[in-house]
């Protein structure tokens, strides 16, 4: 009986629900899921710091520490005006004319690299520390200046071509390394933490209780990753190129493609790491376990070649090594895709292996 009275109400409700509603692109589940990913990320100040600010601070710090100084002028001391005059003919020497004791003191305290004194019968005596490269260089330069001033003519004429091109400095080596490291970190952390957190909160279970197609959920991670990539890479590369004049010699399209492939394959690795874990602690440990060795051996801060030959095949098969090698080849040598096909294959292999395994293992609840 109460059922009978309920019927018109049901009808009314259904009619109201079925009135056509304006649906825009923004109401597409994939768009909404991706937007949510973005919001969660952008509203997490720590995440912003680690993804955007930290790599730049790191690059700036290391770039400053290892910057190439202009050709060094060596400070030396002497005690007679005649010697000083001869020595000053070499532009690489900064000659100070001091009294005897003051000159000795300057040498002892390292303020000058060398002290030139007139010796007996027109000779010159050099005081310097021969274990110090600056001292040895100063000795050579000073002696050359003195001999030439005295009229020596070099039998073989020589001229210099100076190589001070960007591309061979430490910062040039470092920026592609940091870029690779950053792509790895944000893909693995970004995917891993968000997924494990959603699983831990049972939010994932709640989502699969709706009609949301499951692949949209994973796809939204991918999409937000790719969009974030543009910002992230733009930030770091822009910084490197404009502040440190790091060269970007390769094709920009190739570089973009390399970043995308790198990001996808680390995304797949992140997904695999996060596929079953239920707690943030476990995920965090697992991620560090995977990433730590690569930070060390994959050539972020120093060349991977420094490791023994025996290990090289293993190191080269790591995704971060492949990514960084390819990025360096593109940026520093202007290599095209064919030259980095080996690295692309390594990255592709990680993607093709990790992604299906991750999907197979993935725990939705």
């Amino acid at each position: 009986m109460s059922d009978v009275t309920a019927v018109p109400e049901i009808r009314a409700r259904e009619a109201a629900a079925k009135t056509p509603r304006e649906t825009t692109l923004a109401d597409h589940p994939l768009v909404q899921l991706t937007l949510t990913r973005f919001r969660e990320f952008l509203r997490e100040p720590e995440a912003l710091f680690w993804v955007f600010i930290f790599p730049i601070l790191l690059a700036a710090g290391l770039g400053l520490a290892f910057r190439n100084r202009p050709a060094e002028v060596l400070k030396i001391a002497t005690v007679t005006p005649e010697l000083a005059q001869s020595l000053r003919k070499d532009k690489l020497l900064d000659v100070q004319l001091l009294s005897g004791p003051a000159a000795q003191e300057a040498l002892r305290t390292g303020k000058v690299a060398l002290l030139a004194e007139p010796g007996p019968t027109g000779t010159v005596v050099y005081h310097y520390d021969d274990t110090n490269p600056e001292g040895r260089t100063a000795r050579m330069l000073a002696d050359r200046a003195v001999e030439r001033a005295a009229g020596r003519v070099d039998p073989v004429g020589a001229s210099d071509r100076l190589m001070r091109e960007p591309g061979s400095r430490y910062i040039d080596f470092l920026i592609p390394g940091l870029l690779g490291m950053n792509l790895m970190g944000s893909a693995i952390w970004g995917m891993g933490f968000a997924i494990v957190d959603a699983r831990r909160r049972k939010l994932m279970k709640r989502l699969i209780a709706t009609p949301m197609p499951r692949h949209y959920y994973l796809l939204s991670f991918l999409l937000s990753r790719l969009i974030m990539l543009v910002i992230e890479v733009g930030f770091l590369l822009g910084f490197g190129v404009f502040v440190f004049k790091v060269p970007a010699r390769g094709s920009f399209v190739d570089l973009a493609l390399l970043c995308v492939v790198t990001s996808l394959s680390f995304g797949a690795l992140g997904l695999l790491i996060a596929s079953r874990v239920r707690t943030i602690e476990a995920a965090s440990g697992l991620m560090n376990l995977v990433m730590m060795p690569m930070w060390i051996v994959s050539g972020v801060f120093f060349s991977a070649q420094r490791f023994p030959d025996m290990l090289q095949p293993v190191i080269k098969a790591l995704p971060l090594t492949a990514a960084i090698d390819a990025l360096r080849a593109n940026m520093l040598q202007g290599a095209g895709l064919p030259q980095v096909s080996g690295q692309l294959m390594v990255l592709g292999a990680w993607l093709v292996v990790c992604f299906p395994v991750a999907l197979k293992l993935f725990r939705w609840r």
Binding site: E40, R43, R201
Partner: protein, 314 residues
Amino acid sequence: MLPTSPPAALCVRNLRKTYKDVVAVDGLELEVRAGECFGLLGPNGAGKTTTIEICEGLTTADSGDVELLGLHWDSDAKELRQRLGIQLQETQLADKVTVLETIRLFRSFFRHGPPPAEVIGLVQLDEKMNSRVGGLSGGQKQRLALACALVGDPDFLFLDEPTTGLDPQARRQLWDLIEQFKLQGRSILLTTHYMDEAERLCDRVAIMDHGKVIALGTPRELISSIGVEHMVEFSAGGAAKALQVDPLRQIEGVRDVCRENGTVQMQVTELHRAVPALLNELARQGVPLTELRTHSATLEDVFVTLTGRHLRDE
């Protein structure tokens, strides 16, 4: 066609589910009529959540059959998902996202349903529309979870312990909301271990214990089925040990007496006769009374009568 009773919105037959060596659901039979609010009651571990999750298509049963809105999970999952509203126990929605953003997200999964702002109004969160979920109170979060279940204008609503952990005021507010949905003609399956909640909201209840339905009917039917209208509870403080229980059983109108720690519970049919007699008896035994309470029998008492245990006992 014969004019029969309205078709069942949910029909569960011979459902079984075992986790390792624990039988969670043991041959369960259940029927929820269209437009009815049906309560699944029982202590923690009775199998309520497992049952509801099997009905929601989130867990697969070992055996048995679930027919929901005339559809089946193995063949009509997509259609079913569109027509169900689900609230899970202990879902924590994303903290950094606002109420409106959360509802828009959930709304995007459904073909039709009311606009997000309307759903938010329905659960009285208008003022919190642009607040982040992380800043909501427990009751507000629970209402948001309810809103998430309503975005698709569901025909069938599953509510798994919707008020657990809420303060009394927030619970009452949520009850009012659920009562409104009942009026809109939705079928509701609700689990709870609060008896007052079931008595207030549910048209019919099934009491579950150890994966089985041990009693089924309207709250009123169940309460009258134990043949006891009143419960008398008293404490005797330190003198309780000296109390002899047997003479209490002899009192007219007393059905049963059980002693639990310091308190004694009596099932009573005639309160007006039993209480004076009880006082006399206690005076005779020289046991001082420290506390005396009576209440009408509730579903809790039904459970105690049927199982000898309390619902909240773990």
